[in-house]
Amino acid sequence: EDQVTQSPEALRLQEGESSSLNCSYTVSGLRGLFWYRQDPGKGPEFLFTLYSAGEEKEKERLKATLTKKESFLHITAPKPEDSATYLCAVQATFDTDKLIFGTGTRLQVFP
């Protein structure tokens, strides 16, 4: 069964303290791995899509990487405005378009 596990559940960082969020996945065939950011009371906001192992994508202080079993979202010198829940999802090659989500990592960055 296709599955996504994210860790840690929650992460508290001091402003400027870099860290990484983990997304482990099991999928029959990976069509894409997606990272979203969700602020309280809002819908998930698309960040990145990764398609194959070794691929990396960056956006401001965020960098997403992908291996055959997991993805990392690296946050460099975070700011309080980076506080949000970060969701990881996979899309399987032979299973239509549905996204299978993990339960997310709730990130809090303190000044």
Binding site: R31, Q38, K42, G43, F46, T96, D97, K98, F101, T103
Partner: protein
């Protein structure tokens, strides 16, 4: 210039009632989805439509019925609401793989 919009934003209702949630996208996408996010923030697919045709129907009770009048709209009708239906419902749309989500409808069943 809202991309994916949903109405209403909040919905408070009694058990047994019937309610509808509406979704519209102005992105020109062919595929639209409904997801449910439970109290633990877990997002799970319910339905998807491609150009008005039902593509995904995950194990959702028959009380939930999606309807797509055209490819820019996907509505969700829920009959005989139960306490366990309380959740946030998100609409999404996509052209290729990437899905873009609406702001959500917070449903509370009393």
């Amino acid at each position: 210039d809202t991309a994916v919009s949903q109405t209403p934003k909040y919905l408070v209702t009694q058990m047994g009632n019937d309610k509808s949630i509406k979704c519209e996208q102005n992105l020109g996408h062919d595929t639209m989805y409904w997801y449910k996010q439970d109290s633990k923030k877990f997002l799970k697919i319910m339905f998807s439509y491609n150009n008005k045709e039902l593509i995904i129907n995950e194990t959702v009770p028959n009380r939930f019925s999606p309807k797509s009048p055209d490819k820019a709209h996907l509505n969700l009708h829920i009959n005989s609401l139960e306490l366990g239906d309380s959740a946030v419902y998100f609409c999404a749309s996509s052209h290729w793989e990437t899905q873009y989500f609406g702001p959500g409808t917070r449903l509370l069943v009393l």
